[in-house]
Symmetry: C2
Subunit: 494 residues, 2 copies
Amino acid sequence: MFFIDRMSSTPVYRQLEDQIRSAILKGDLKHGTRMASSRTLARELGLSRPTVVQVLDALQSEGYLEARQGDGTYVAHDIPKALPAFYPGAAKQGKDDGGKPHLSRMGSLLQAMPVDLDAARYTAFLPNSPAFDAFPHDIWRKCWANRGRGGGIADMGYGDPAGYLPLRRCIAQYLGLHRGDACDPGQIIITSGAHAAFSLAALILADPGDGIWLESPGPVTVRNLFKGLGLNVIDVASDSDGMMVADGMDRAPDARLAFAMPSRQHPLGTTLSLPRRLALLAWAQSRDAWIIEDDYDSEFRYAGRPLPSIRSIDSAGRVLYVGTFSKALYPAIRVGYLVLPPSLVGAFRRLSGLVARSVSLEMQHALAQFIDNGHFVTHLRRMRELYAERGAAFFDLARIELGERLEFNAPASGMNALGWLPPGIDDRTIHAAVERAGIKSYPLSDYATAALGRGALLLGFTGVPANRMAEPMRRMRDAIDGNGADIALDQRLS
Amino acid sequence: MFFIDRMSSTPVYRQLEDQIRSAILKGDLKHGTRMASSRTLARELGLSRPTVVQVLDALQSEGYLEARQGDGTYVAHDIPKALPAFYPGAAKQGKDDGGKPHLSRMGSLLQAMPVDLDAARYTAFLPNSPAFDAFPHDIWRKCWANRGRGGGIADMGYGDPAGYLPLRRCIAQYLGLHRGDACDPGQIIITSGAHAAFSLAALILADPGDGIWLESPGPVTVRNLFKGLGLNVIDVASDSDGMMVADGMDRAPDARLAFAMPSRQHPLGTTLSLPRRLALLAWAQSRDAWIIEDDYDSEFRYAGRPLPSIRSIDSAGRVLYVGTFSKALYPAIRVGYLVLPPSLVGAFRRLSGLVARSVSLEMQHALAQFIDNGHFVTHLRRMRELYAERGAAFFDLARIELGERLEFNAPASGMNALGWLPPGIDDRTIHAAVERAGIKSYPLSDYATAALGRGALLLGFTGVPANRMAEPMRRMRDAIDGNGADIALDQRLS
């Protein structure tokens, strides 16, 4: 009944143990069955008797076997008679078995969602890619090392669910001095990035089915997140002044939330005008609704100065301001934050305590040091200059190499730009061709819920050094030309 | 109308800018109003003209003012006529304004929840406190430092939403070798701790209102988490064999989830028997339900070896196994993980990608090194020995110093023990007295949804060196004696 494989890397006692356990679970050994004695088993299997005794003892302590005084060992009487089909090991494979698991509505939505799980691959012109090559690794390492030395016992526990207070102080100070928007550290909740902040906000402020305004075209992952959480995402139109608040009020005046990207709309790159900001605030105040302000890469403005946030003119406490270090530093850092109206701090702190408490103390400590010693502001200034240079190089090269294949308007801020295709050319087709050539872009159509008048590709200009842009740019040109897009060569400017 | 305070730390240009902006937002300056010229303003306020010009330009770029050709500067015509009452700055205070914000059902539940946000304070006998004093800080620092040197550009992006693959490999290997439960790294999702894992599971597997089995007495924060997420928490009875599965099937056979702590029930310390494990699996399989297996401090077993997990005998793929490094290393690390049935990997990876992606790459890298170099297993072995010693000292001292005030049964595993009060003594009263004496415990009544036959305090025995236990133990004794608990001295054993 049992078989010991002496060539196997599994120890012999483990082999025997697994086989007896399986036999019981499969019903081959029924409850009440008398086991062979340890002496017999040892002889039959060529094992030492202590090894067999050890196995029987272990299975006894697990409850599979029971000893009866002076009468040997039996399969335990309380093993259920009718066992379902247990096949130990069957569920351990890493592959999806193709079955349809019973999920929540949210789980089913997620399961069906076409999420690009590989989007993070580093390639030329990947949107939102910081200049990893220009990151101050040495300084960052020193901030880590300091933490290593200072690791105090008091800091090793769960800590405040809102986050490490010195880091919250640094962020409050940064926002006050460099974003013109003072807040109290008590209003800040540290999260593992902007999306984690959006999800806390959605859970606390909206019930499944409640409406949230979101622009179309707008950020795909944010749309998927809110849909995944069961919210009713209302497509709000957007023009050169940003979100058309009047359109939102027409479509869903009773939405609970509005998602706003006032500094720089993603992916269109527009700025929300002052009248629209005021109208949005007035709507939220009159409807008891909330505004999630995604201060999307306001740090990188190349012309003029950043516009003040909506939060800075919100007297009614309707704005939840979300910031992230994914763009300003790098995505893998997984740190973002919320600045909350005071009335919401209690609920967010509780949810963070129960669910999130999300960032390791080490990381919060290192980041606080990095900011406090002035490195963060220095890094932002350096990156602003570098990104302006890279942008200039990118748009020059694009004009020369791509011509009218992709037409860019150099943006006043941010890390990405839309390259507009000639009318009538499908951006998803071109996107696929460019991707086959090893360059990751996003087609504008993917950001929109309705067909667009003109297609475009979103490309990032900040991640690649200027002197390494020409080659991928030409690869992109060849990919566009070679893949069925009917763009006449004589349209090229150069 | 405007006033410049030269003693203020706010720069004069910022003062003027804020005052003009406020006047417009408050309606003191209505749209269409002609502003005084920069020359006039400069003279009246005693500022240089370039300063005033800079301010007017900034407000123009923000949209508050507009220049009319050859006719000076006006308040912008498109500022809405009827502004709500905007008072910039009013929402910036860190205190709750006492208002009742409009929240989701989950938000309202959370807002009302009595969560002990200070629970993490380090004191003697705080439950679940690892031996921070015996943590290998030097080795841990080296794992960090290695990361500092190796920081590659490829690792700085978003990465796999399931977590850093080398860390998942290390965890899979650890579970296979030391927990007797092999899995594929592809089944693992890295989370920011066990609670984050529970919350992903609840969101993906249960809709609001769906039932989840949870023992009473049982873990308070887990109960609050599931209630906060809108689940219907079903109290299931528990005896010395752990969760009474038959009771769950009586009360709510159609629950979607069962929360199981088979290794060691919190706070009772019992082990789930094999027949109950099999019954739980059979129920989940027949009802298409899921089992969340919280492998609560299975790492610290002092007698015998750890029982195999439920997951290891789950052939139907109904078990989500949750582990954490909060106990094995320290809470502030914020790393835990899920081992999923293959059919659930897709949905969890998507939700993690949208919401969580929660642990910084640096931390995952350092932890992978720590495990891979064998430090984790060594640390666990050292802690098992140390905790066994500390436990022995604790229970000896408790017998001598506390006698029948608190009666402990030394547990075979874990980091905490229940000290049972004499019948009729209210544990919340004693808990408060002990807390006033500076010692953090948890009263058993707080873990239960119904009145208990006998009260107890949960205390941790792992966080304090043995030679520093006597003083807080005596403080506890005095606190119990001095605070109205009618425990006769002659009941003391010593």
